[in-house]
């Protein structure tokens, strides 16, 4: 077993995480690491438990068992499984997007991005009291927040629509805005739940560019769930494959792509082929054992 890059400096370490809903085991003893500065993709067929993993990482669910360890660049560590969701995003700096976009649709694009900077602005406004009375450096801070919002609007090429309500945007733009909003929280790890779903090929290419930009310019690590294999293969540095809540493969895109278990589980095969692959697998595991 060779040590991969993500083993040396992981931003997120998932250890033996299990999530049960009543009798259903959605995630079963999952262990993987996401490297700092990597784009890590979590893939698997429908119902494999990918979104559940996301919800455990971001605190919307508490895992039944297991540990989730987040390490900042400065060495601070956070035990995510013990933190409430808003602290995971606020303190541990894990941002996320949602499978079915959750924008503040009645607020403008600019407002969406300002809300994302809530915690910083809250402190600057002296917990509102200073802001109301007009003392303290709130004005300057708000200006700064506007600049940051503008920076991200430029990045997602929606500056011209800054004062329009988010609900008015076309689908693809809403996805980009959701990513920009998550980035405005200044995250260490950005979790994207199917960012390419419903995008046309051009939008999909733009998205790849945006994500690579986030990795390289912002130095933010990314964890993404994706069905679109072209996106996964093109941009990810590391792929983890889930099936029925269990990890079946973990490695570089090239490695995973050629893993027979992944081919069988994920890409789908005829029944006879499954048998063939299973036989091969038996042989393989037999050899390994």
């Amino acid at each position: 077993m060779t040590t991969e890059r993500w083993d040396n400096d992981p931003v997120l370490t998932v250890e033996h995480v299990t999530m049960r809903f009543g009798g259903l085991v959605a995630v079963n003893d999952l262990t993987f690491k996401a490297g700092r500065g990597d784009i890590t993709a979590l893939i698997g067929p429908n119902g494999a438990g990918k979104t559940t993993v996301f919800n455990c990482i971001t605190g919307f669910y508490k895992p039944t068992m297991g540990r989730l360890d987040l390490a900042h660049r400065d060495g601070t560590r956070y035990m995510l499984e013990r933190m409430p969701d808003f602290k995971i995003s606020g303190k541990a700096k894990v941002a996320r997007t949602f499978q079915n976009i959750r924008l503040f649709s009645g607020m403008t694009l600019l407002e969406n991005l300002l809300v994302a900077q809530h915690n910083a602005l809250m402190v600057a406004s002296g917990m509102t009291v200073g802001g109301i009375l007009g003392i303290g450096g709130y004005r300057a801070k708000e200006k700064e927040a506007m600049e940051r919002a503008k920076y991200w609007l430029d990045k997602i090429r929606l500056t011209a629509r800054a004062d329009d309500p988010a609900g008015d945007l076309p689908y693809g733009a809403q996805r980009r805005l959701e990513i920009a909003r998550a980035m405005c929280t200044g995250p260490e790890l950005l979790c994207l739940d199917e960012p390419a779903a419903g995008l046309n090929p051009r939008e999909s290419a733009e998205l790849n560019e945006l994500l690579l930009g986030i990795r390289d310019t912002e130095r933010t690590s990314l964890l993404l769930i994706e069905h679109d294999m072209s996106v996964v293969m093109e941009i990810s540095d590391h792929v983890v494959v889930l099936e029925y809540g269990t990890k079946i493969s973990d490695g570089t895109p090239a490695f995973v792509q050629n893993d027979p278990r992944v081919i069988a589980a994920y890409l789908g095969v005829d029944d006879e082929e499954v048998e063939k692959v299973e036989k091969q697998l038996d042989v393989l595991t037999g050899e390994a054992g």
Binding site: G90, L103, F104, S105, T108, T128, G131, D163
Partner: protein, 461 residues
């Protein structure tokens, strides 16, 4: 295409269908109003309950229902159908109001509010103005203030609070009890009442804020009722249903409004009149209401205000952005409650008397109705709704000429709440999002554009 074709080749009114509809409506109306209006239960001389036949009144109502239904079926509905799926009138108005126009209206309205007592006094004299300043001016402004206070909770944070009147009661009783027992002045007790109400907001808010949807509404209703029932039953402190009387009046920086030598009238050598005190109270509540408005407008542009609105739009997304939703909701609850506390202490000082009767659920319902009818989140809408609903129903008291029509027994006052309820239903059907549904953004890069009400969410609570 078929729509337009249909619209242009629209045949004349279908009278046969309309007649059928009217007949059906008549039968239903007869079933409902026949017994409830036509058969009156009354007590006779020997205190027995008897039924008096008043079928004539019932038949008049049935006839009105039938005529109304006929007109609707024959003329109104076909026309509405022909207008089709085009953007509704409501939408057109949304887009039509430019922000700068709104600002102009707001300024004009403000000017009118400040001049109102002067206008009334110059038209009707001091004595004649009493009713108009007190029953209309002060009464409406109390509800405007309550509406604006609740607007923070319902309109901005999207938390439906059906027990808001409890905080009004806390403010009123705080002032009444502390003023009587500790002889403190209104100006000291005003902030105290606000703080106490805010504290109760936090105490009651804390357990209920994880509830969703209508459940939050019902629990706040329950809390409102509990506070009222405690006020009734905790006789040692509150004197029960009898209430607390002779609550001290407000003074103008120590100058009392009474007939004493250092009273207001004597001091300025004016003839004695209760109108000065009323006018003073009018300006006091106007300033309190404007304080509410000012704080709300400032808060909306603060991070906390944006977080409230974001909470109304999507709570899950808020949590994913690191916003502590519990604290955010609690601040909304507390600040809303604080303004109710201010209004409550004003109310106690104005009436000189408080009793649990003033804080029934119906009051909460009226305030919520004002906020929703005005358009959630819109300050001007809420003010207009308060003026229309409270002023409109107060006006009914004035319709004494109707006695000439319906006979001396007729008392327009008793129809007040009936019409209020009907107006609530009617306005909801006419404009489900209230008078002003467009939302003004709190920040902009290039230009401030109103957000159409159809995109703004109403919150889950």
């Amino acid at each position: 295409m078929t729509d337009t074709a249909h619209a242009t080749s629209r045949p004349g009114p279908d009278y046969a269908k309309a007649a059928k509809d009217a007949l059906l409506a008549g039968i239903i109306a007869l079933g409902i109003f026949g017994p409830l209006v036509g058969l009156k239960t009354e007590q006779n001389m020997s205190n027995e309950l008897i039924v008096r036949n008043d079928m004539a009144s019932a038949l008049i109502i049935v006839a009105i229902v039938m005529a109304g239904r006929f007109l609707l079926s024959a003329f109104v509905f076909p026309r509405m159908g022909a207008r089709g799926k085009k953007p509704t009138v409501a939408n057109a108005i949304d887009e039509g109001v430019k922000p700068d126009r709104t600002k102009l209206y707001a300024r004009l309205g403000l000017l009118l509010l400040f001049l109102y007592p002067i206008i009334v006094v110059s038209l009707l004299g001091f004595q004649g103005s009493l009713k108009w300043v007190d029953n209309f001016g002060i009464q409406i402004l109390i509800y405007v203030m309550l509406g604006w206070g609740l607007n923070i909770v319902v309109g901005l944070a999207g938390l439906l609070d059906l027990g808001y009147v409890a905080f009004y009661a806390v403010g009123a009783y705080s002032y009444a009890l502390l003023a009587i027992n500790f002889d403190l002045s209104f100006w000291v007790l005003l902030p105290v009442a606000g703080i106490l109400a805010a504290m109760w907001g936090v105490i009651l808010g804390f357990p209920v804020l994880r509830l969703r949807g209508d459940y939050l509404a019902i629990v706040t209703l329950a809390f409102g009722e509990i506070i009222r029932l405690v006020l009734i039953n905790f006789r040692e402190l509150t004197n029960g249903s009898a209430g607390i009387s002779s609550i001290p009046k407000v003074t103008l920086f120590g100058i009392p409004f009474d007939a004493s030598p250092d009273g207001f009238a004597k001091m300025f050598d004016l003839p004695l009149s209760s109108a000065y005190y009323k006018i003073f109270l009018y300006y006091l509540i106007l300033l309190l209401a404007l304080l509410t408005a000012y704080v709300t407008i400032r808060l909306r542009r603060m991070p906390i205000g944006r977080a409230w609105e974001a909470l109304r739009e999507d709570e899950v997304a808020c949590r994913s952005l690191g916003i502590n939703t519990t604290n955010t909701k609690l601040t909304a609850f507390a600040i809303g409650a604080m303004f109710a506390g201010f209004a409550g202490s004003f109310f106690a000082a104005r009436q000189g008397f408080v009793s649990p009767e003033s804080f029934v659920f119906m009051e909460s319902a009226v305030i919520v109705a004002i906020v929703v009818l005005g358009g959630m989140g819109s300050m001007i809408g809420v003010a207009v709704a308060a003026a229309a609903m409270i002023g409109g129903t107060e006006l009914l008291r004035e319709l004494t000429f109707l006695k000439a029509v319906f006979g001396p027994e007729f008392n327009p006052d008793q129809y007040r709440m009936l019409l209020f309820g009907l107006a609530m239903v009617g306005i909801m059907i006419w404009r489900p999002r209230g008078f002003v549904s467009a939302r003004q953004p709190t920040a902009f890069l290039f230009e401030r554009k109103a957000v159409s009400g159809s995109l703004v969410k109403e919150g889950h609570g």
